[in-house]
């Protein structure tokens, strides 16, 4: 434990500098800067609202919030894992010359995705208020799925970034995968039309699990069951553990491939 604290102290400065660099890289190149990261999910929301209200939103209360919840979580997941994937390869020039812990590059990418998510979250609450959602202390519970998501995203980022070093076509395969995830995450439709077993199948999709947690708290105003919390924790931990394991195992092989 003491070792970990010391290590954190040692690398804190590096971490801050990397985060700064990623931010500059991200926002310097667009005129809209941070505004864009709010505008882009809003545009998605607008289009979805215009199109899908007719098909799915007629008899669903708070359909805007329903859509936004899905988009919010999904967009965070996508951004975080996609940026995470290239974090090792993009910094190869550095860590093949200087001895630094490579996971730093992934963590700093995750921070910028998290900040982006935070910005969108503020807008999300704004929309909730407009949509007539009642606010209460239960909203504080949203920290639970957010931490869970963060852990899962880091874990998946570890796995993907390692794989991306070895197989450069992962990028395209993952794009396909992301499209699939979008359709099976019930972003714009409700799972109620499926059978009981069908609805259960959705729980195999960790992104959906986190989306559902959000909707449960925000729209239904209910606190999910303990089992449901356990499921979130399971997904967060399993990916983080697998990611850590993969990273540890392949850490010293990256150099051969870059």
């Amino acid at each position: 434990m003491k070792q970990i604290v010391e290590k954190c102290k040692k690398y804190q400065f590096l971490f801050e500098e990397l985060v700064k660099r990623d931010f500059k890289e991200k926002y310097k190149r667009s005129i809209l800067g941070m505004g864009w990261s709010i505008l882009s999910p809003l545009l998605t929301l607008l289009v979805m609202k215009l199109i899908f209200t007719k098909f799915f939103g007629k008899d669903m209360p708070h359909y805007t919030t329903y859509l936004f919840s899905g988009n919010l979580v999904l967009a965070y997941y996508k951004e975080s894992t996609k940026n995470g994937m290239s974090s090792l390869v993009n910094n190869a020039k550095i860590f093949t010359k200087i001895n630094v812990p490579k996971y730093m590059f992934l963590l700093s990418k995750n921070v910028s995705a998290l900040v982006n998510f935070g910005l969108t979250l503020v807008v999300y609450f704004l929309f909730c208020a407009l949509d007539g959602i009642h606010f209460g202390f239960r909203m504080l519970l949203l920290i639970y799925p957010i931490v869970g998501l963060l852990m899962m995203n880091i874990g998946i980022g570890l796995i993907l970034s390692a794989l991306f070093v070895f197989f450069r076509d992962i990028r395209y395969l993952y794009e396909v995968f992301l499209t699939l995830i979008t359709y099976v995450s019930a972003v714009f439709y409700s799972v109620d039309k499926f059978s009981k077993t069908g609805q259960r199948m959705f729980l195999f999709n960790p992104v959906y699990v986190f989306i559902k947690y959000f909707r449960c708290i925000v729209i239904d105003g209910k606190i999910p069951s303990l089992e449901y919390h356990a499921l979130c924790a399971f997904y967060a931990l399993i990916f983080l553990i697998i990611g850590g394991f993969v990273y540890k195992k392949l850490n010293h092989q990256f150099l051969y491939y870059l």
Binding site: E17, R29, N99, V100, F167
Partner: protein
């Protein structure tokens, strides 16, 4: 306690099919049993030991495994077998110009590089002006890094890397950088560091540099250790003769023979040493 102890170290690279074939291709080749991985030993059975204040010159033709060995010492790579122990902070000057971010300013890059090298923020804050001044980039602090000339870039890299007082310094062909005046300045700075009792490793193709600076020599050839010795002059003579005749010495007798041949050659042609 030795500063660096390298015990029977071997480093293997993996080469072969895998590079850039992609996951789909990989799976298909695996299924067809058509997937091949080749091994390549960059270093084999390398053993040496350095005490405080030692300066080791690593010599050998291209592909001898010099840079790989340096990477292992900095901890970027780990040896496939054998043990490698280092005691103290390491400053490694490997291929200086790379790893900077072209879109960031000189100031931002200085901080980022410093952080990568393991400096603290307080240390950098106190040294920043000195770094910029030494690199002669006072007027360029807010320029984007990509706008600098390549000479300026390596000047900055050199200045950042050399401002610490490391216990171990690793130099890969970077003894002096920049144009005439900076070359002298960086050379002086280097000497100052080397005189401070630091332990050093130097890879150089300029043998006169090795003769001048080093008290020990490690000779590698295709990953194999030909010699680790403190008879610098004798082995440098032999090495220079080897460079011309390409005959690898097998034992002590042949080393002496090579060295003698070189001295004879040098007597016949006094310009020889300068030409290297």
């Amino acid at each position: 306690m030795s500063v660096i102890e390298c015990n029977n170290v071997g480093i293997r690279y993996i080469t072969g099919d895998f590079k850039a074939i992609g996951l789909k291709e990989y799976v298909i080749r695996k299924l067809k049993h058509d997937y091949h991985v080749k091994e390549f030993w960059a270093d084999k059975d390398v053993t040496f030991k350095l005490e405080k204040g030692d300066m080791l010159g690593i010599i050998g033709s291209n592909g001898a495994g010099k840079s790989t060995l340096l990477k292992a010492i900095t901890g970027i790579m780990i040896p496939t077998y054998g043990t490698l122990e280092t005691n103290g902070t390491i400053a490694a000057l490997l291929e200086l110009g790379s790893g900077f971010d072209g879109d960031m300013t000189v100031r931002e890059n200085t901080y980022l590089r410093g952080a990568l090298l393991g400096y603290t923020r307080a240390f950098l804050d106190s040294k920043y002006d000195e770094i910029i001044h030494f690199a002669e980039l006072d007027e360029f602090q807010d320029y984007e890094f990509k706008q600098l000339s390549s000479g300026m870039k390596s000047r900055l890299a050199f200045s950042i890397a050399c401002l610490v007082n490391p216990n171990i310094i690793i130099l890969d062909e970077v003894l002096s950088v920049g144009d005439g005046s900076f070359r002298k300045k960086s050379g002086d700075k280097m000497k100052e560091i080397l005189d401070s009792g630091v332990t050093g490793l130097l890879v150089s193709h300029t043998i006169s540099q090795v003769r001048e600076l080093c008290n020990k020599v490690l000779w590698l050839d295709h990953g194999k250790q030909i010699a680790f010795t403190n008879e610098v002059e004798l082995y440098c003579d032999a090495y220079e003769e080897f460079l011309m005749t390409k005959k690898l010495p097998k034992d002590r007798l042949q080393i002496e023979k090579l060295a003698a041949d070189y001295i004879k050659r040098e007597e016949e042609d006094p310009n020889l040493r300068r030409s290297y």
